[in-house]
Amino acid sequence: MFRASGTRVCGPAAIPARAGIGLRARHHDAILATPPPVGFLEAHSENYFAEGGAQIEYLERLRSLYPLSLHGVGLSLGSADPLDREHLHRLQRLVDRFEPAFVSEHLSWGALGGRHANDLLPLPYTEESLQLMIDRVTQVQDLLGRRILIENVSSYLTYTCSTLTEPQFLTALAVESDCGLLLDVNNVYVNARNHGFDARDYLVGIPRRVVMEIHLAGHSTNRHGDREILIDTHSTHVCEAVWSLYELALDRFGDVPTLIEWDTDLPDLDVLVAEAATADQRRERLHGLAA
């Protein structure tokens, strides 16, 4: 069951064995009015960088009800430029204030020369970008004084210069920087379809002990002539193929906390809660009634 009002939670162990949902402003009032039976809430860090106002007050109230995960989308860890110190310090203040169970960011970049794409752009998987990511993740962990999780992103292209596979890259990053991994199962599926690899091989390429959270989301399909490209839209239900891959991930990585993401074409709260309940049913089928 969700946590009682006023309870403070800190550290990964505080996330119960129950799927969580992504927190969106449109659902703030509905969650507070009737707190749904979900394990935790995950907020986009940048949505709460404000100095004051209603959004930050909502997060205070919601934090008193649920364990929280802070999920960043704007740090641009893989950029060749130095990290944005102001962005980092805002994140640090948010982490200090809300004591989230998880802090996560992406295996991606999004800015160069002060110009931001505000997107999670894929990195070439080379020794140069690996060393840069190791340095950056270490820098962030040192500043925050805690381990962070890095999430695999969806992609619509790969680079000719890549010399490592994504599982090899992520594994080396986790080992060298001691970060955890946030495995987005939908992104694995999307990339497997877009780039023609076997998603099951991808899971086998990730060490069992490093995956600390799983994301699930919906995607859409774009046609380019006779070629299909899957787009990670977070705009619909998790598809059956991703649910199946999720079960394989649970089997390999254990009963790790799972989150339902839904960002565009946002449905009513009960739809998200039902999707989280479906994840719980899959978990319970594999790992028993741990909740």
Binding site: D119, E128, G196
Partner: protein, 258 residues
């Protein structure tokens, strides 16, 4: 082999400006033209940016239409690409951009509408401050009143326009078309001086008299009370102006100028 910086520079040009020539040689085609792969990111970036502009400027969108605003946002993104990993900052220059773009047209007032809506967004997320300590203010000796410098609430903004800005905003802000008062605002109705201030559950917008607006603007510039009094058309009105500013909660602190 190209460096990471070289690849990122080429890719960012494709994402922001649709210039795919340079990045394509670094992309694996695998059954799809590398240009089309890069273009997916350009389209995503445009959709994200224009969506953020539409969400930030709903009154402007209602006035100008979604298609027009999307086109303008696309041009604006080339001129003012995002400078932060936090997308919420991207609308800061839209008012200035529109002023130049629409200069001399019948739509010049769109620039002021954009400025009003941007200030509205800033007020929503500004720092909360305690209200003015009136006992401390009352304890200032009369001979030192001229040296008082007031501080405005972080969650308060002032926007002036030669158009009836507040009336335009009120007539177009509603989500419900039934509440709209289309055609009822006379653009020649005269200037507008608007105070925006965050209340516990909403942002209040109110029209200010010229004297009150100029007083608050001067406070915002850090001018001491004595100097402000000298610039007022009727200095004897200062106590009433000050009382209204305190009552509205616009002033949160003060110090004495040395």
């Amino acid at each position: 082999m190209a460096s990471l910086r070289e690849i990122e520079r080429a890719f960012l040009n494709a994402v922001l400006f649709g210039e795919t020539d340079e990045i394509t040689r670094h992309i694996v085609g695998a059954g799809l033209d590398p240009r089309r792969r890069a273009a997916i990111y350009h389209h995503n970036a445009l959709a994200t940016f224009t969506g953020m502009i539409a969400a930030t400027f709903p009154v402007l969108e209602r006035l100008a239409g979604a298609d027009w605003l999307r086109q303008v946002a696309t041009e604006y993104m080339q001129r003012y690409p995002s400078r932060s990993g936090n997308l919420h900052h991207v609308g800061a220059h839209l008012g200035d951009y529109l002023e130049r773009r629409l200069w001399g047209t019948q739509y010049e007032y769109f620039a002021d509408v954009a400025r009003l809506e941007w200030n509205y967004q800033e007020v929503l997320v500004a720092m909360e401050r305690a209200t003015l300590d009136l006992e401390r203010l009352a304890a200032v000796a009369a001979e030192r009143h001229d040296r008082i410098v007031f501080e405005l609430a972080p969650a308060a903004r002032l926007v002036a326009s030669r158009f009836p800005l507040l009336a335009i905003w009120r007539a177009n802000r509603s989500e419900s078309c039934a509440d709209m008062q289309e055609g009822t605002v006379d653009l020649a109705a005269g200037p507008s001086r608007v105070l925006l201030i965050r209340r516990p559950d909403h942002v209040e917008l109110r029209e200010l008299p010229q004297s009150d607006f100029e007083f608050l603007e001067a406070c915002g510039r850090g001018q001491p009370l004595g100097h402000i009094a000298e610039t007022l058309d009727s200095p004897e009105s200062l106590p009433a102006i000050l009382a209204r500013a305190v009552s509205a909660g616009v002033l949160v602190d003060f110090h004495l100028e040395n």
